[in-house]
């Protein structure tokens, strides 16, 4: 049993890899339809089979046994290579997170492969008599291999390796239509932008290896914990990094490491400053957009953050949250004005990825991953639907030319609508029968993220007041709090908590108790428990009952405020809420413009059709969106939560804390602060509002929107959004032109400066040689008399040579000699006095000289 599951997971890498080589080597011979089926079966069918076995087995395995399996897999890794004297091992990371994501990737990829066969069937893919059909599936298989490898990687190095490989596949697939004008630059942009992120990732890797001494995830987390407790290594010193006007002085190396690792995620998940490549990546075939640029690869960034969650300090987490927040809001705004159906979905993807990253940043670990899964389902479905539309409309992507496609593509229309409902977070807010609530995937996952964000933004006072209370009791807190203000202090915030823990072990039993209360309430779902207001009482109660010892120790490690976790700035929560209203609007707009209303381009409408091969995956994914994500993945991810809860430094806030063993901070469920009930009123019906507004604007086609677009404040906004905040232009100028400019300068220097120096050196040597050869040697050899005549001759020659007849040379010589004379005057030892004489003659004095 023990090696079985991990071996299955490892084995799932083999079929896609072999399929890749089979298709590369014999692709043209296999032929057109068959290559696709080979790709489907080998590339994803077999892995899906294996993955299903693992998933089902895991689903019915008890928690203790799961942990045993995890550590067994951890211990059965094979040696891959040596890095210094450190042994780099390869193996399988076997835990709930891996299993869940692995299954999700396999499942979605399988249906997208299936869809691709239909999609590519009608494709004119012969260029220069070379079919690219097999190439497409070869790339897809390679992608399957890399993505699954990424998911099961146990160490950061392998994460990085597969990370780059999925980047390569993305590059190849975006550039699939490489004979066009638009695809190659888009592919290049994607790769290079990712490389910028990887630059940070490599720095993070370097810091991890240097200070934590290992690249293994488990080992690194353990070392992190130890160093935190001891205040050494990563926490021993602070660095000062001014970025964008924020001075990160006083940041520990640990924070820098976290930010570095997150940079990789920023590249892959296309977060705010590096988001520019994803919309362009839509140049690839639509199944690719669905698979790589919506469901799996771009989510790898979120997966990475989830994996390294235990290595993030609170400051790094806050950085993550800020980036996520910016992305989710501003990208959603752009989506409103997009007219290309794929671009619209791309910006929606960016925004949703921002949601996930934001969720990670605020500590909603489970919720963010859950959103990853639900999003993967419905966004893959939406993209496939758009692929169906594009294919059916003969590669028209402009929504303004569509409309009224419902009659031609009913299945696509309604599955797309399910996707829209899901992404909008449709559900019945505040209503439940027992534990059963009603809604689509996005409803639950977004709700959880927002609930945590709410809790961090508004209910955080419960910890801070608790802290004050404790400080009143024993003063230890005050030291921590006051010294925390001193940014230049060379010991980190986190280390304070550790010191505090050792110095004042009795600091926080009450907090533990409060935690326990809150958790209990979260579990039972009652909304009327004790709140933070009763912390004192509860604390006293806890102390009386003798909950000291282990519980207190544990809780102080989990004390969020002491660990440096600050309350979430309220604007971030506000942004997330605003986006919750924007998302339904633009998604409904996309759906309505495409499928409903009157056909705006009869030509497009006439030829539109739906393909059987492509509707099946849509239906399957729709079912997945409706039920599977919540029923299957939520509990799985909840079980994975301890991975994050084990975080030594950071307290993982989590929505519901389904698993009693998970020592997460649960939400404050007291009646007046329950995030869920608050959210019902704040965003519960946002989807209705969004839909309604979109319907009002677009129900009669584009007229109203056109008019709105041209009214005063909106027209500027529209221009800004249409140009995507001018990021492409900015980067084009700043980086591309800048880089090429610097490169040109370097090239110039190389030929004109460095080479010139060498050439001058050689010509000087040559002249010198000529001189010695002609004058000195000749004199020596030919004796005195000869020498005289030779000298005379040479002199004549020498005198003749300067008379070149070239006017410019004369000027040059004159000025050169003049300069030399002046310089000699200035430099000669008696120059000063001579100059003084001259100057005095002229009636001036000199000074200095």
């Amino acid at each position: 049993m023990e090696p079985f599951l991990s071996k299955l997971l490892a084995a799932s890498l083999i079929p896609p890899f072999l399929t890749f080589w089979i298709l590369v080597l014999w692709g043209p011979k296999i032929g057109k339809p068959r290559a696709g089926w080979v790709g489907l079966i080998g590339g994803m069918g077999l892995p899906l089979l294996l993955s299903t076995i693992v998933f089902v087995t895991w689903f019915f395995t008890g928690p203790e046994q799961r942990d045993a399996l995890t550590s067994a897999a951890q211990n059965s890794q094979v040696l891959w290579s040596q890095l210094g004297d450190f042994k780099v091992t390869f193996g399988v990371k076997l835990d709930s997170l891996t299993v869940a994501i692995h299954f999700m990737v396999c499942f979605i990829a399988f249906w997208i492969f299936f869809f691709s066969i239909g999609y590519m069937a009608g494709h004119s893919d012969c260029v220069h008599h070379q079919s690219k059909y097999w190439r497409f599936f070869a790339y897809l298989a390679l992608f399957g291999f890399s993505m699954l490898g990424l998911v099961i990687s146990p160490s950061l190095l392998f994460l990085f390796i597969f990370w780059e490989l999925v980047g390569l596949c993305s590059y190849l697939l975006i550039g699939f239509y490489f004979d066009t004008d638009y695809a190659p630059p888009a592919a290049m942009k994607a790769f290079i932008t990712n490389r910028v992120g990887d630059f940070g990732f490599i720095i993070g890797l370097g810091i991890v290896f240097t200070f934590l001494g290992t690249l293994d995830l488990e080992g690194a987390a353990a070392a992190f914990k130890t160093q935190l407790a001891a205040g050494t290594g990563l926490f021993a010193k602070t660095v000062s990094v001014p970025i964008l006007g924020w001075s990160f002085s006083g940041m520990t190396l640990a924070t820098l490491m976290g930010i570095g690792l997150f940079c990789g995620a920023m590249g892959k998940s296309a977060q705010f400053p590096l988001h520019v490549w994803l919309p362009d990546a839509m140049a690839g075939p639509t199944p690719v957009s669905a698979l790589i640029h919506a469901a799996t690869m771009v989510a790898a960034g979120v997966y990475l953050v989830a994996r390294v969650f235990r290595l993030l300090t609170p400051d790094a987490q806050m950085f993550v949250a800020v980036i996520g927040c910016i992305t989710l809001t501003f990208m959603a705004l752009i989506a409103i004005v997009q007219t290309d159906i794929k671009k619209c979905l791309a910006y929606s993807t960016l925004s949703q990825l921002g949601y996930m990253i934001f969720g990670m940043g605020v500590g909603a670990w489970t919720a963010a991953l859950f959103h990853l899964v639900t999003h993967a389902f419905f966004k893959a479905m939406l993209f496939l639907g758009s692929g169906q539309v594009i294919e059916g409309c003969h590669h028209v992507q402009d929504m303004r030319r569509m409309g009224g496609l419902k009659s031609k593509m009913p299945v696509t229309c309604w599955t797309f609508f399910i996707g829209v409902l899901a992404i909008a977070g449709t559900g019945i807010p505040g209503f439940h029968i027992g534990d059963l609530r009603f809604g689509l995937g996005g409803f639950f996952s977004k709700d959880e993220i927002l609930a945590v964000a709410y809790d961090r933004a508004f209910n955080w006072g419960r910890f801070e007041s608790g802290g004050e209370h404790a400080a009143a009791q024993n003063g230890g807190w005050q030291i921590a709090n006051s010294e925390r203000e001193e940014a230049s202090e060379s010991v980190s915030l986190a280390a304070f908590s550790a010191q505090h823990k050792t110095a004042q072990p009795k600091g926080a039993p009450e907090l533990a108790e409060q935690d326990a209360h809150a958790k209990q309430e979260g579990r039972t779902g009652e909304a009327n428990g004790h709140g933070a207001g009763t912390a004192q009482e509860a604390g006293g109660h806890g102390a009386e009952e003798g909950h000291g010892g282990a519980a207190a120790h544990h809780a102080s490690a989990k004390d969020p405020v002491a660990a440096g976790m600050k309350a979430l700035p309220k604007w971030m929560f506000l942004f997330a809420i605003i986006t919750a209203y924007i998302t339904p609007f633009y998604m409904f707009r996309a759906w309505w413009l495409t499928f409903m209303g009157k056909p705006r381009d009869p030509h497009v409408h006439e030829h539109a059709h739906e393909s059987k091969m492509m509707t099946l995956p849509l239906a399957v994914l729709a079912v997945g969106t409706l039920v599977a994500s919540y029923a299957l993945f939520r509990p799985m991810l909840a079980h994975a939560a301890p991975v994050a809860a084990d975080a030594p430094l950071v307290v993982a806030v989590d929505g519901e804390a389904h698993d009693p063993a998970a020592s997460l901070i649960a939400l404050d469920h007291s009646a007046d602060r329950n995030p869920h009930s608050k959210l019902v009123t704040i965003v519960g019906f946002s989807f209705l509002v969004g839909f309604a507004v979109a319907w009002l604007v677009y129900r009669k086609g584009l007229g109203i929107a056109e008019r709105l677009k041209n009214t005063f404040p909106l027209n500027y906004l529209h221009t800004l959004l249409e140009h995507k905040y001018y990021f492409d232009e900015l980067y084009g100028f700043l980086w591309v032109r800048g880089c090429r400019g610097v490169a040109a300068v370097c090239g110039f220097i190389d030929t004109w400066v460095i080479d010139l120096v060498y050439n001058l050196l050689s010509s000087v040597t040559e002249r010198l040689a000529a001189f010695t050869g002609r004058v000195l040697d000749a004199q020596g050899v030919d004796g005195f008399v000869n020498g005289i005549s030779e000298t005379a001759d040479d002199l004549a020659e020498a005198l003749r040579r300067p008379q070149t007849g070239g006017i410019r040379k004369y000027v040059l010589w004159t000025v050169g000699i003049g300069t030399a004379v002046i310089a000699a005057f200035l430099l000669a030892p008696y120059g000063e006095s001579a100059w003084t004489v001259v100057a005095e003659r002229l009636g001036f004095g000199t000074h200095g000289g």
């Binding site: 590369v24 040696l79 891959w80 290579s81 040596q82 890095l83 210094g84 004297d85 450190f86 260029v127 220069h128 070379q130 190095l157 990085f160 390796i161 597969f162 990370w163 780059e164 490989l165 390569l168 590059y171 550039g175 490489f178 004979d179 066009t180 004008d181 695809a183 190659p184 630059p185 592919a187 290049m188 790769f191 290079i192 490389r195 910028v196 990887d198 630059f199 490599i202 720095i203 890797l205 370097g206 810091i207 290896f209 240097t210 200070f211 880089c739 090429r740 610097v742 490169a743 040109a744 370097c746 090239g747 110039f748 190389d750 460095i754 080479d755 060498y758 050689s762």
Partner: protein, 556 residues
């Protein structure tokens, strides 16, 4: 057997001299192939890491295999030996040389179609002599012999570029020659100085009355020396001796030992360093490389990039560091800086080129910068990374040069902006080209990645060393090179292989021939194998020796 391998190409050269004209190519081909096969036979001896279990041959320097040592020029006052052998450092480079030698010989097969297609006999004779020279450099363990081989290699190269090169061949050849010669002169100074200083050390030890018995064994005969080997009666050219003999090492490292008023180790280190840095080539000494590459015919470019550049890195690891570790410490910052500048500057210069071959040449500067950086930081990971980077570059850059050569044969120009869409017209070639260039880019799974990553991580590690607080900055800057590399390589791929075919009348681009494919495929396979199995292909052979060298360097 080692000597046979070294001199087999030379024998081929002699045969070429007398062979009928139509047999010349065949003889050259067979002799390089035989050399390759013979060198592959050496592999089993190195299986298992090359760590000397018995400690017979200098425990501190890894295991030497296939040692052959004969007195060569011995007089009253000096001893020059024919002393060759392979250890984990030289062996992979030795195999690389035979491989690249064979493949580039095969790449010369279309000699008749070249711009300058006269003098085939001379060409192949010089080519084979060049290969002997290169093999000799890697195998020789006697400094004098090393120097002789070094010069033997230089002259054929000069003629190969200067006679069969492109339009500016004379300029390029002379530039190459002068640069390398300048390095050789410094090396010659070091050679002589080291001989006499080591003699001083030994004589001082012998005169030391306190250990009359110990002096004999300590100063004259180190542990690995066979009993009948000629005695040291003054100085030594023996590289292993100099690195491992405590007496000599102490004398070399001592503050009191000076040369021209500067500390001996420091100045000797920099002499040797400049000699090898020119070959590497690193930043201020690199300008010969683009010219030489651009003008040289394709096979010669392959050799130049694949093997000759490696001699610089090999020299660091064989001579500079083990013999003058204190010099290495003193110059670490400078070396690392030069390495980082090479990385960034080379990449930027590559980005500015429009000549395809020049671009690849500058990319070599950038890649070899990683070697310099990895060596300079003196960590295990750094050394391993540098070694791997040399081998990876030895595979990927000849491949890239050959790729350029293939399209140059068709289009008769190398202007990047005048190509396009080659992946459509030449799909097989395009696929292989993609592998080659992505390997050069440092994509994980291909050979370029391991070296870069190891060097970067090694540099980071060095930052923990209190003497190298600058290493973090270096690592970050070098990591930025990764972006630039991606930039210029992808831009190149975009311009040449993607997009619309850019056809010019009279220059159609037919698919790669079977010969061309056959030359490219081994490179591509090695790119992938080295990327996927770095231990099995490289590290297992060289790590033992590298760790020994590092132990010598850090005094462990």
């Amino acid at each position: 057997m080692l000597s046979w391998t070294i001199f087999l190409p030379a024998i081929g050269a002699v045969l070429c001299m007398f062979a009928p004209k139509n047999q010349i190519k065949r003889i050259a081909f067979i002799s390089t192939l035989a050399t390759l096969l013979l060198s592959l036979l050496l592999i089993p001896a190195f299986m298992g890491g090359g760590i000397d279990p018995a400690g017979t041959f200098g425990t501190r320097y890894g295991l030497m295999h296939f040692v052959e040592r004969l007195p060569w020029i011995t007089g009253e006052s000096f001893t020059i030996e024919y002393f060759v052998g392979l250890d984990g450092l030289s062996f992979p480079l030795f195999i690389l040389t035979t491989l690249v030698g064979f493949l580039s010989c095969w790449a010369s097969w279309n000699f008749e179609n070249w711009r300058v297609n006269k003098g085939m006999r001379t060409y192949f004779i010089l080519f084979l002599l060049l290969e002997t020279g290169m093999l000799g450099v890697f195998a020789s363990l006697d400094f004098f012999l090393f120097y002789v081989f070094w010069e033997v290699m230089l002259l054929p190269m000069y003629f190969l570029i200067g006679v069969w090169g492109g339009p500016r061949k004379e300029y390029a050849a002379i530039k190459f020659f002068l640069f390398t010669l300048a390095g050789s002169v410094l090396m010659l100074i070091a050679l002589v100085a080291m001989y006499f200083y080591s003699g001083d050390a030994v004589r001082a030890a012998m005169a030391d009355a306190s250990s009359p018995a110990g002096a004999q064994s300590q100063g004259l005969v180190s542990g690995y020396r066979p009993a009948d080997a000629p005695l040291l009666n003054g100085g030594t050219f023996d590289l292993i001796e100099m690195a491992t003999n405590d007496v000599i090492a102490k004398h070399f490292a001592s503050d009191g030992t000076t040369f021209l008023g500067v500390k001996f180790a420091v100045i000797m280190f920099i002499f040797l360093f400049i000699g090898f840095a020119i070959k590497l080539p690193s930043f201020p000494f690199h300008t010969w490389l683009p010219d030489a590459h651009v003008e040289a015919p394709t096979p010669i470019s392959m050799i130049l990039a694949g093997v000759l550049l490696k001699m610089g890195g090999y020299g660091f690891l064989r001579l500079c560091y083990p013999i003058f570790p204190s010099g290495g410490e003193a110059w670490a910052f400078v070396l690392a800086t030069v390495g980082v500048i090479s990385i960034l500057y080379g990449a930027l210069c590559a980005m500015a080129q429009t000549d395809f071959k020049k671009l690849v040449a500058y990319s070599s500067v950038s890649h070899m910068g990683y070697v310099l950086l990895g060596v300079a930081v003196m960590t295990q990971a750094g050394f391993q990374g540098a070694m791997f980077q040399m081998l990876a570059h030895g595979i990927s850059s000849p491949m890239c040069f050959f790729l350029v050569g293939v399209i140059y044969d068709r289009a008769h120009h190398r202007d990047l902006n005048r190509f396009g869409g080659l992946w459509l017209t030449m799909p097989r070639y395009g696929t292989l080209a993609t592998i080659g260039f992505f390997a050069s880019l440092g994509l994980p799974g291909l050979c370029g990645f391991i070296g870069e990553a190891w060097v970067l991580i090694g540099t980071f590690q060095a930052g923990a060393n209190p003497q190298m607080p600058w290493a973090y900055t270096m690592a970050v800057l070098a990591a930025a090179g990764v972006i630039l590399t991606a930039g210029y390589i992808l831009w190149t791929i975009k311009r040449v292989y993607l997009g619309h075919p850019h056809e010019e009348p009279g220059h159609e681009m037919p698919e790669a021939t079977a010969r061309e494919t056959a030359i490219l495929v081994p490179f591509a396979v090695l790119c992938i194998l080295m990327g996927v199995f770095p231990s099995q292909t490289v590290f297992n052979y060289c790590n033992g020796t590298l760790n020994h060298i590092l132990a010598v360097v850090t005094g462990g």
